[in-house]
């Protein structure tokens, strides 16, 4: 059992989402940073899509009621375990009664940290997923963000968890997390709606994530993309990564909780391999875009799949210190 002592601005249960429920109009949802999700789960011996906690920006304090193996990935939110710095991207033992604290961002990038616990968060699956659907009000714990006093059940650790202790995810095997990331775009189907110089400006302007942004999408400030003439589009299917432009000209980057359909022209789509970088942006953060090709997107996707399947090393130093200090 994990007890939430403090939840910060947005703490939710997330897993790989419900892509199959798209046909019912249900947003795919799931972890924003899917790389950090899979890495955290692998570190503690879970299946890649097991349910984890997604902490946003910090302000989180958790209490473990029993000893367990945990791994924290994604953003550096200054994690401590019982007051001592917690080794990130590493399978670490949390003793019964231990307190995990995620105060807030410690680097110039980073929005979301992922905590995997051996056995996974064992809330009941709904439509094939334990993810919290905030707009639908289902999944996770009662379909809502977590708050102080909530208690989360844990699943039974796999056999792999008994061997996972001390496993470490090497820094060179992670996405290139950084301030002002350059996200690669495949040109969208509706470029003809916009003047060519505006499209060129999209790839030459530093944009900022707007204050009204959330898990559904980011409003991007810093560039207006007006339609060449007033038009309307019948609603069409959209996916996370799509940049759609409403009539006010302010682009919106769709993220994990985006609706399954949209009625605005699509100017570009962020490639899958760069979505984890987008997931680590908070309102006020800067980003840039660059257009790329399908071939480059496929190569990047392949490389990321290989990185996620890489054999893991045991960090002996951490292992020894954990043994000594546990």
């Amino acid at each position: 059992m994990i007890e939430i002592i403090a939840a910060g601005p947005l703490l939710t249960v997330q897993d790989a989402g419900r892509p199959d429920a798209r046909r019912y109009g249900v947003p795919p949802g799931g972890a924003m940073d899917t790389f950090a999700l899979v890495a955290a789960n692998r570190l503690v011996g879970n299946l890649p899509g097991a349910a984890v906690l997604e902490a946003t920006a910090g302000g989180v304090v958790l209490h473990f009621s029993r000893a367990t193996l945990v791994a924290l990935t994604g953003a550096n939110l200054g994690a401590t375990l019982d007051g001592r710095p917690l080794a990130a991207w590493t399978a670490v033992r949390a003793a019964a009664g231990a307190r995990l604290h995620l105060p807030g961002r410690r680097e110039r990038w980073g929005a979301r940290a992922y905590l995997a616990v051996a056995g996974g968060i064992a809330v009941p699956p709904i439509l094939g997923s334990r993810s919290t659907s905030l707009s639908g009000g289902f999944g996770g714990l009662d379909g809502r963000c977590l708050r102080a006093g909530d208690r989360l059940p844990l699943g039974t650790p796999t056999y792999a968890a008994t061997l996972a202790f001390g496993q470490h995810w090497p820094a060179q095997g992670r996405p290139p997390y950084q301030p002002c990331p350059i996200l690669r775009l495949i040109p969208g189907p509706h470029l003809a709606w916009f003047a060519p110089e505006r499209i060129a400006a999209l790839a030459a302007t530093t944009l900022r994530v707007g204050t009204t942004s959330n898990r559904m999408g980011y409003r991007l400030d810093g560039l207006a993309l007006p339609y060449r003439r007033p038009c309307s589009l019948p609603s069409l299917g959209v996916i996370p990564g799509v940049i759609q432009v409403p009539p006010d000209g302010a682009p919106i980057l769709l993220m994990a909780d985006a609706q399954t359909t949209g009625g605005y022209p699509v100017v570009g789509v962020v490639i899958g391999a760069d979505l984890p970088l987008a997931a680590q942006l908070l309102p006020g953060d800067e980003l840039r875009f660059t257009f790329t090709t399908l071939d480059e997107a496929l190569a990047a996707r392949h490389a990321q799949a290989e990185a996620l399947a890489q054999p893991l090393d045991r960090d002996e130093g951490d292992l020894l210190s954990s043994l000594a200090g546990a």
Binding site: A21, I126, G136, P189, T261
Partner: protein, 220 residues
């Protein structure tokens, strides 16, 4: 006879979007629904999801398992084969209490259309109309196309909250809000049926292709 010309364009590296420019949304939607059903049934390796919409078809896939060219070829074949093939769907009756608190826009909408409220209700209940797609929110059906006599643009100012079960029209379509949601359509009435229940199988009351017959009932 094939008359629709589909443009197929990548939506990122893991999805393809087929769109058709036509005023005949009925024919385009019929092909999109048929193609989505055929692709789902044949389930080629790597296919992840099909999302038919009013005049488009989105197909999501794993590009490390199946190549773009192969997906595009299957989409073209499925769309061509589905064109002109009648859509199959269940016939579903939706009881609606029109007007009053349940349909606060009925009178104003009728007036803008040059109809009496009774005439608008009769038109809305004439049908049946087809579920063209689900989207916007879990279980939200886009139903139509409605005859031109019921065409109204969206309201200038959307409402921040529309009650669940509310039946509305806009832009040549009618829809039913499955949950309390913001909405810019004209609210004609309300049904007590539950449009979306995540614990039910299937979770959505309506599926694309279903024929919806609205039936006026007196207030509870």
């Amino acid at each position: 006879m094939q008359t629709l010309c589909w443009n197929i364009h990548p939506l990122g590296e893991a999805a393809l979007l087929a769109e058709v420019v036509t005023d005949d949304h009925g024919a385009a939607n019929q092909a999109a629904l048929g193609a989505a059903a055929a692709l789902t049934a044949s389930a080629p390796p790597g296919l992840r999801a099909t999302v038919p919409a009013i005049a488009s078809l989105l197909v999501c896939f794993d590009p490390l398992v199946i190549a773009h060219r192969a997906v595009e070829a299957q989409m073209r074949a499925a769309l061509a084969h589905a064109e002109g093939t009648p859509t199959t769907g269940r016939r579903v009756e939706i009881p609606v209490t029109y007007g009053g608190e349940d349909g606060p826009d009925l009178t104003a909408a009728a007036q803008r259309l040059g109809l009496t409220p009774g005439e608008l209700v009769a038109l809305h209940c004439a049908g049946p109309y087809r579920v063209l797609m689900l989207g916007f929110a879990p279980g939200f059906p886009y139903i139509g196309p409605l005859p031109p006599a019921m065409h109204l643009p969206r309201r200038a100012t959307p409402r921040s909250a529309v009650p669940p079960g509310t039946v509305a029209i806009a832009a040549g379509l009618t829809g039913i809000y499955p949950a309390r949601l913001p909405g810019g359509w004209h609210l004609l009435g309300r049904t007590t049926l539950r449009l979306f229940d995540p614990a039910a199988a299937p979770p959505a009351l309506l599926a694309p292709g279903d024929l919806v017959q609205f039936v006026a009932v007196s207030a509870r």
